[in-house]
Every structure is written in structure tokens, then in C-alpha cells.
């Protein structure tokens, strides 16, 4: 599926044309299974590895705060030749050289898998939501923006974009089946560079949104409804029916599991709240 192939090529053009000196352009290659990559890291990965918030007083480097600027996009393809598996590219200063700095931050994830198709788009979009799973790396994100802080503690252990990239590759590959290659671009060179990257990727959101709409339509949901539910007298009816739909789906899931031989000891019957 070639929905984002043009954008992957545009990102490559950006990488070639961005005006930075050689010392601000790094390419790192990593290989191995997600487990091998994980075991090579000096930090912990997994749920709760970086709980809470990192206050400025405990922050070594801040990335992408709303004033510095940020962008985040995920591009995927089933053409595996377009993505260089394990390649991490950094354009701009690295974390160890940026103590006390607040850097602009662009992050583009390029994923490839031969079997990937439109129906995978929704779950692939969830892949970079790594929340609290990287020790010492606090991440607050929306669908377009990333705001991250690296703690002084992990900076003292050498945390840099290579470690961040490897962490993302390990986490995404182990959590998201069907991906055979991951390439990551980080940009910290300037707000203007991040803006340019954001403009390349701005079309991605619209295309992704269309893929999601199609996927939901196939499942029988109308996502084009512009009606304001808050002003509708029939809202309680729709709320009840939504509960019914959730219940029906849950019951169907339990039934499927039981039929698959995965014993469900106490299937929960759905009921409509009074």
C-alpha cells in the first residue's frame, strides 16, 4: 500500500537538503531482536519505567516544549525497500551536548511490513504512544506534538538519541506485530527545520484520517455525523444504544474466545444500565 510512500521520499529529500554542518548530522544503525536491543540499553524499558512528571529542576534536556516547537508523525508502507531497518538519523544537537537546553523536536517514525494494509493504520498510530515506558524520559504528546524531558539521572548514564531511538524500536517492534523495519528521524536543529518537517507531514494527518474513516465505515459506524449531540433531545437513546453495542461486542468477543478453546471462566453478560 503506497499511501505514505511519497511522504517517506519527501522526508528523505528533507534529510538531504536540511542546511546543517556535518557535526550536526548523525546516522546510527542498530540491529538485533527487540529483546537484544533492550538488553543492550543502560536504562529500563516497560510500563511504569518513567512514572510521574519530571520537573525542570530535575531535567537535563527538554525537547519540543510548545514555545520551542515540535512535530511528530508516523509513516508506514508495505514496500520494505523504502525503510532502512534500525537506522536512526539525528539532525541537530544531541542530548549530552544540550544540558539545560530546551530544543525544538521533530520525530518521524517510518515503519515497513510486507503485510501492512489500511486496516492496520489505526493500531500503527498507537505504536509511538509509549507513555511512561522509557526510564528517565517523560513524554507528553498529542497526535501532532511531542513534549519530552530527559532526567538528569539517565543523562548521567549517557542517554542520547541513539538510546531513545533504540528504545522506540525495541518497544514498537515488540508491541506491534507485522512490522519488519523501523527507521527514525529526530530533528533538533532549529524551530524552522521542525516547521518544515511538520509541513511535509501535514498532509499525512488528512490521509490517515481518511483511512480511519474508511475503516470505521467498514465496521458500520457513521463518522461523518456533524450533528451536535449536546443539543439533541434524543441523546439518551443514543447513549443507551452505544452501551448495547459495547455489550454486544463484548459478548461476541467472549463467545469467539470460548469457541477458540481459550476458556473464559466467567463471561460477563452485558446489561443496559437503568
Amino acid at each position: 500500500m503506497a499511501v505514505f510512500d511519497g511522504h517517506i521520499k519527501a522526508v528523505r529529500d528533507f534529510m538531504r537538503s536540511v542546511p546543517v554542518t556535518d557535526d550536526l548530522y548523525q546516522e546510527i544503525d542498530c540491529s538485533g531482536t527487540p529483546e537484544e536491543i533492550r538488553s543492550s540499553l543502560p536504562i529500563n524499558l516497560g510500563r511504569g519505567a518513567s512514572s510521574g512528571i519530571h520537573l525542570r529542576s530535575n531535567t537535563y534536556t527538554e525537547l519540543g516544549n510548545p514555545i520551542a516547537g515540535s512535530c511528530s508523525h508516523l509513516l508506514w508502507t508495505n514496500n520494505t525497500s523504502l525503510v532502512r531497518d534500525g537506522r536512526i538519523t539525528l539532525i541537530g544537537p544531541d542530548i549530552p551536548a544540550s544540558e539545560g537546553e530546551s530544543l525544538p523536536f521533530g520525530q518521524i517514525l517510518m515503519l515497513a511490513g510486507e503485510t501492512l494494509g489500511a486496516n492496520d493504520h489505526e493500531r500503527l498510530q498507537q505504536a509511538p504512544i509509549i507513555g511512561d515506558r522509557i526510564e528517565g524520559y517523560m513524554l507528553k504528546s498529542t497526535s501532532d506534538y511531542l513534549w519530552a524531558r530527559v532526567s538528569k539521572d539517565v543523562a548521567a548514564r549517557g542517554f542520547n538519541f541513539e538510546i531513545l531511538g533504540k528504545s522506540l524500536i525495541s518497544l514498537i517492534k515488540s508491541r506491534t506485530p507485522g512490522i519488519s523495519a523501523i527507521e527514525i528521524l529526530f530533528v533538533t536543529s532549529s524551530k524552522e527545520d521542525v516547521k518544515e518537517l511538520a509541513s511535509i507531514a501535514s498532509e499525512v494527518k488528512g490521509l490517515g484520517s481518511n483511512l480511519l474513516k474508511e475503516a470505521w465505515k467498514e465496521r458500520g459506524f457513521d463518522v461523518e455525523c456533524d450533528f451536535d449531540c449536546a443539543s439533541c433531545h434524543d441523546e439518551p437513546v443514543c447513549d443507551d444504544i452505544r452501551e448495547v453495542i459495547v455489550g454486544v461486542k463484548k459478548a461476541a468477543r467472549e463467545k469467539r474466545k470460548a469457541e477458540d478453546g481459550k476458556a473464559v471462566e466467567h463471561p460477563i453478560p452485558f446489561k443496559l444500565n437503568a
Partner: protein, 264 residues
Amino acid sequence: MRDSRLGKKRLIAVCGKGGTGKTASIALMTRALAEHPATGNLLLIDADPAMGLLSALGVQVRKTMGEVRESIILTSKRGKSEDKANIGNMLDYMIFEALTELDRFSVLAMGRTETLGCFCPVNTLLRNAIEALADNFDTVLIDCEAGLEQINRQVVKELHTLLVISDPSSRGMETAAMIRKMIIEDRVIRCDRVRMVFNRVRGDEEFLRKSAAKLGIELAGLVPFDENIVQFDLVGKPITDLPSDSPSLESYRRIVADCILAEC
């Protein structure tokens, strides 16, 4: 000793009748807490919609929680399906955006909300998020209106200490009595202890001690009238910049050490 029910952080709210010097009191307490090594990470929540505290502190905020609430309601009403699905992530991002971090303390301003309506689930969502944020701090100081229902709905469900600010006027004391009733009898918010501070005291100390005893509220301190505050207010200078030997600041240093840091 800090209460395990509330976790390891100290939660202190300050309230009182308008015009009794509450804003200046909180500004001075903020400075006294920020100077004290036992305070740890300090979060100040301005839950008074008037937001006068921010200018007393000389702080500008980028976003208020009222604006966060507004964004959530508008996204829910008019947003696209994928935006609605992302409200959880958006909330986390926007609350962090609303947190203003300064060198010695952080500030979260509740602000006001434009959209009419109760939206209880939105308030609950925000309150839970604020409580989760507050968990990252050792000491949380909340500036609230005289009515305490609003902090219960929007900020926190329980407190270690409620500090009631009054001046020597009978109206200030009437409000203090009303606040005590809201805590002790109406149980508007769970609170371990209530303490009282009289501001702008000019020699009537014995009378004020007896008044506090009559109200049934333990006295945390008497703060003398301070000409420096009047002068700073007049020219709009942050109260936190008062000279270090200002009598009001010295009083609040004692109140902070004896009533907040020692008791909580």
C-alpha cells in the same frame, strides 16, 4: 507528622473573606515556603477565579485550567472523532502546559471557564488529573475562595490544613465562623485541621486571641500591619519581593515553620 491517607505530600488550602489580605498572605507564605529547605518541591494552585495571586507573585501563566476545561468541552461537542479519541492524551499534554515552573516553585492557575453548565464528569476528570500532578510535589498550597465547594469540585477532595485568613474586623470573623461550620458541620471538604491567621494587627492581640478561641479555631499567628505591603500594592510590585526583614514576612516565616512544616 504527615498523614499516610494523603500520601507523602502536604496539602494546605488558604481561604478567607475578600479584602482581608488573603492574596498577600499566600504570596508571603509562598516565599517563606520556597526559602525553607524542608518544603521540597512546592506547587501553588490559584483556585480563586479572580487570579489576583498571580500579579502578587509577579507570575504570568501560559494557560489556565479553565482553558483546558474549555478545550475538552469544545472537543467533545464539536471535535472530529479522532480528536475525541485523543482527549486523554490531550488532557495530559494541556495540564503540563498549564503548569508554570519557576526556579523555586510551580504554579497552576484554575482561572475561569466561559462555557455555562455543570459538566461534572469534566470536573472529575480534571480534578483527578490535578491530584495526579500534585502527587509529584512535596508541598501544595491552594488559594481558594471563601466558599470551599469549588475546590472540592475542581481541585482536591481532602486537605491536611485549612488556613483561614481574617483581619480584625467583625465581618472577617463572621466569614471565618462560616468557613469553620462548612468544615466541621457541613463537611464540604475532608480536612485534618483548621487554623486561623489574623492579618493587619495593630496592638489588639489579646482580643484577637480570645476571638479565635471563641470561634473554636486554633490560632496559627498574628501578622502585624505592614506599610511595605501597602506601598508594594500601590505601585503593583510583586509582594514576594518585599524586603527580607519586613514584619509581615517574618510572621509568615514563623507560621510556615510552626503550622505548616512542623504539623503536616
